[in-house]
Symmetry: C2
Subunit: 489 residues, 2 copies
């Protein structure tokens, strides 16, 4: 794509941003709800196109469509609720020496946001997904670079967004859809001076490359990249003794869900050797062998799965425990479980590489001390799961505490797949899970990624944005002289 | 400094962090209040040592000491108030298909924080300054690299902190004071794997070097560096006509306050040519010529001031308007005002360089269109000041809107120097003012720099941190199912 075309797109996006950012929260919320409605109205075309392009099953895609609509409506509500603005007022005091000025603060949008969607969520983490929705809620314009693997789906979504923008009487350039492939186009988008933030969901290498580019700019910009996570599951002793089979069955479902193509797929399972772990392994192996393989998203992902799976299985002391018996084509996944002694795992960094697909490695420890060592040496993760009784947790407080240092979400006796869309969800985590552990990409707080605080000092009341005026006409929560309140001044 | 010494220090700091992070908020608050008390108890030694090391006047240092104590107590209160935790709960719903899990989120501390203090605030932005206080409030351990120019002051402050830690019965390694000079020591601190964040106040080159180092780590970490700002002041037409003299007098005081050694010093003044601007220039020149020069912080700063001042004065079309008439030594500042036509300013990036000291450049525009161009081309700033009547602001909405894009704080008819310590203050701004415009270093929100969200999914109530348990025993504000409340569940 010509750089001049990208320049024109960014110039237009910036002009649209300048208009949009000053509109009332209600207008942003209307846009989001209108996009939700337009997506609803795409009907089955969106589903059939998604199925053709991603190999994902109809039920899954219908679920994801509903989720995308839910997300847009959630962000609409959160946007108007206004808590994310962090509106804050410290009133003046003329009596003080020196006189105390009037100080008021809120988040303002950063500017045009470039979004790179995920292959594995063609709706919910893509063109009209969480990044786009939260950027619109924050008051930003959005430029989406379509994922090459589901370009037709992306066009349908882009059309829905464009229709909503038109209905809401907003500038068309508020949303730009770029279908041109190639790294150069992506790089030009990240490097353009008017781009003010980037959202990305994908591989570690892709995310890191974008992040580096963004930091080499004259004016560096934030990149929110969700990259790589192996989502360890720790099996604690009493739980293993009490519930090895049901735990194994639940994990088998989680490991193979959607051909394992989830960022929260449990790729590592850690337990202490013994009767419980043996029973767990037997059950898990039996379950995995009976899974019907599924076609993966696209050939690149399937090839990558085969290569990474092979690379791990070829590492010293890694033993194949179970693989699906069904006949598969090159496009299918091969649900697979392998095992490795903890001592080997601790010494071989290759075993911590993400295998994107239905693959999980069981790390067998000799004792809890070794399990603690494994926990200490785990890189940053989106999730960590603890299969543990209350007694387990009390007996191994240090381990639980250590685990928390390495993840964005800690799950107790649930599977990590399935990311609830709600305010309290943290979908993020320490490097290399994401580029910025202080933010997440799911739930209302994701809006804050695309804002920065600005303070107005001694601004005449009528010239303040409505969010900060004396009269709290929007009925939002504000911190006034250190107290949260909905009162006016 | 030996890397092994730094390694030992970081290991100890990390162990102290592991202990400290799980203590109740009250214990953190007690520590901060205790540090404030210990500083109070240093009595005049702190002041006389500060005067010797920084050349700052007694009254200024007494004020700064009081401010430092106030900051520590403010962070103590904010820490216990707990709003910064962003505690958030979405309760379970077993009836839903699939069942909705219980999801709870709050900020947890990042880990050991390395702080590089500022030369110009030996107390408030240094050893026991805002970065240290907010990191302690967040639950982090702190390693301070003493500023070479006020090492004795730094030791006094470090002793106060150490005494407070002892009185509060906390691990001594919660605070580490490193007095060794040299870039290698600083680099080793930033690069150590156990360092999880960096706070810095100083020059652009220093901040950028640290920021780059932090991003080249295997696990990159956030750097909050306050670096470079020329804090433009825009003089709008009606205001100039109505109040040229008083505006000039107020700015003369602001420009020369503390020998101009403030990060919010007004370095650029922009106005449209005419009678108002002429009167403003005459008054400002007369004021500046009568200012008594002051000794700068140290020889390096004074030399740097002379060089940068000379570099700007030597640029084409820059005209010296006024400089103090008093006799000065090489250690003194030379309060100086110069002028340049806007057309020249727009074409010469050298004129946007910060001159740290009492220097200000008046940019003379031919008309408001040119002033708008200047505003559009201004880099990121901590502050922007608008000297404007209400009519000015209404007549030039586009300019006011543009100005907001480039700063962290916009000030109406006040001077930029003097940073009120309160929740609504944003002391930060777009690059190159700081490395991260989404955060600030003054006020309660500064605590959030050193935390990241973590979500607990389906965690048994009694194993949750008290902030997230059903019973809101700490009486903090929490978002429960999207509603802010202090209720228990």
């Amino acid at each position: 794509m010509e750089n001049s075309t990208i320049d024109l797109a960014l110039q237009a996006s910036y002009q649209a941003f300048l208009q949009y950012k000053n509109l009332p929260l209600k207008r942003r919320s209307e846009l989001l709800k209108s996009i939700a409605l337009e997506i609803e109205n795409t009907g089955d075309t969106l589903i059939t196109t998604g199925m053709q392009e991603t190999n994902l099953a109809e039920a899954r895609l219908r679920g994801e469509k509903a989720r995308t609509i839910f997300q847009l409506n959630s962000y609409a509500e959160a946007c108007e609720r206004g808590n994310w603005l962090e509106a804050s007022i410290d009133t003046a005091n003329a009596e003080r020496t020196p006189p105390k000025p009037d100080i008021r603060k809120m988040l303002v949008p950063l500017g045009p946001v470039v979004v790179f969607g995920a292959s594995n969520f063609p709706y919910a983490y893509s063109t009209a997904g969480g990044d786009t929705a939260s950027a619109f809620a924050a008051g930003c314009s959005v430029i989406v670079r379509a994922h090459f693997a589901h370009k037709k789906t992306s066009v349908l979504m882009a059309n829905a967004i464009a229709a909503a923008i038109k209905k809401c009487n907003l500038p068309q350039a508020l949303f730009t859809h770029i279908t041109e492939e190639g790294n150069a186009t992506g790089a030009a988008l990240v490097q353009h001076p008017l781009t003010k933030a980037v959202g990305f969901t994908g591989s570690f290498n892709g995310g890191k490359a974008i992040w580096e580019m963004a930091h080499q700019r004259k004016e560096p910009i934030p990149v929110f990249a969700e990259m790589s996570s192996i989502n360890p599951v720790y099996l604690l002793p009493e739980k293993l003794n009490e519930a090895a089979e049901i735990t194994a069955k639940n994990l088998a479902t989680s490991i193979t869900l959607g051909a394992g193509q989830f960022c929260t797929n449990p790729g590592i399972i850690v337990g202490v050797a013994g009767g419980g772990l043996e029973k767990f392994k037997l059950t898990l192996a039996a379950e995995i062998e009976n899974i019907t393989p599924a076609k993966m998203l696209h050939d690149g992902i399937a090839n990558n799965y085969r290569e990474k799976r092979k690379a791990i299985l070829n590492q010293p002391d890694v033993v194949l425990l179970a693989a699906t018996n069904s006949r598969v084509t090159d496009a299918h996944d091969i649900p697979t479980i392998a095992t490795v002694p903890a001592k080997v795992f601790l010494q071989n960094p290759a075993l911590k590489e993400e295998v994107f697909g239905s693959f999980s490695l069981i790390v067998c420890c000799n004792n809890m001390e070794e399990l603690y060592e494994v926990a200490k040496n785990m890189g940053g993760q989106l999730t960590t799961t603890l299969m543990a009784t209350a007694a387990d947790i009390k007996d191994h407080e240090m381990i639980v505490d250590e685990i928390k240092n390495h993840c964005g979400r800690i799950i107790f006796n649930n599977v990590p797949t399935g990311v609830e869309v709600c305010q309290a969800m943290q979908h993020g985590g320490p490097w290399p899970a994401t580029t910025d552990s202080r933010f997440g990409s799911v739930g209302a707080d994701a809006i804050k990624r695309f804002g920065r605080p600005i303070t107005y000092q001694n601004c005449p009341n009528e010239l303040l944005p409505p969010e900060l005026q004396n009269n709290n006409s929007l009925n939002i929560w504000r911190t006034i002289n250190n107290e949260l309140t909905k009162e006016s001044i």
